[in-house]
Symmetry: C2
Subunit: 189 residues, 2 copies
């Protein structure tokens, strides 16, 4: 998606060779109209897949997932990052390690909102090492639902998080896929 | 907002007299089209206030804030709940106690995304004890920005979180305001 690549180049901040901050439109400040356009583009790529539900994980993935859900006319479910005192009942859970925060968290989804009848599109803002994505795929499998694929805003392809999943046939669509980066230089694939 | 009250009555789960779960459309599963209608209604109530920015806090407030920002055509900024390793530079911070999670967290906003020129509408999904709202008001004040008010989806009025702020003239609009509740019985004001 050219508009996204342009904004990554003009507004993104590369720290070292692995960290890309896009806080001006996605991860701290949000450009709502732009998020909606990205959601529409991800929805377009999966429009014939019979999606019944979008799955993501809090926090910054939620708006992208909601934009996709709005475009496809289906509900969004977001996995929660820890079991809060108001959650109860049967949960599907997965352990996810965050390289950004350098900690492992449990993510969970209530069995009420993901069923064997669902055809699930996972949506997220970033794909790096693929930890969150693998956790969400595990939750889809635990639910006995059908996985249609994953729609990602920015894939840092050099961190190879999608390789294992693509190798087993999971369809992963990214709006911008970065081959390599360093301050002042971002190469898209 | 009648549609919201109807859905709280039909889908909400009251636990004891203080906890209301609306996980089927707001806090775990999201109904994107309904969120957009709620955002439009909050935007309508503040449409003449000259809003330049929506402020909220992660996680579940973000979609509501994004819906309001989309309707008003302005950016959304969400306070982050802990300082991640990719955040740096000047931050406005406030300590917020969550009664749901029974822990205090620091919330922070980069000074880059909130300036003295901004007219800020705070948006959030719930208002209970008002801890998050007071933290966000503090961040607006630290930035030297103008506070236009707060737009809330569900206010649990009996927990009196808005009283101090309304007493000092802060405009707080809620789409549904609950006077009292117990399992099987919710009274709106």
């Amino acid at each position: 998606m050219q508009e996204l690549k342009n904004r990554i180049i003009s507004e993104g901040e590369v720290i070292g060779t692995h960290i890309l901050k896009v806080d001006s439109f996605l991860n701290h400040q949000i450009d709502p109209a732009f998020i909606m356009r990205m959601g529409q583009e991800l929805a377009r790529r999966f429009e014939s897949a019979g999606i019944t539900k979008i799955l993501t994980v809090e926090a910054s993935g939620i708006v992208v997932a909601t934009a996709v859900g709005l475009a496809l006319g289906v509900p969004v479910v977001f996995a929660k990052k820890k079991k809060a005192s108001t959650q109860q009942g049967d949960l599907y859970t997965a352990k996810v390690y965050s390289f950004t925060r350098q900690e492992a968290v449990d993510i969970s989804v209530s069995s009420r909102y993901l069923t064997p009848q669902d055809v699930v599109l996972i949506a997220d803002d970033f794909l790096a090492h693929g930890e969150a994505l693998k956790g969400l795929v595990s939750i889809v499998q635990q639910a006995g639902a059908t996985l249609a694929g994953a729609g990602i805003v920015i894939e840092k392809k050099f961190q190879r998080g999608a390789e294992d999943l693509r190798a087993v046939g999971v369809r992963i669509e990214s709006l911008a896929s970065i081959e390599s980066m360093q301050p002042g230089m971002i190469s898209f694939s």
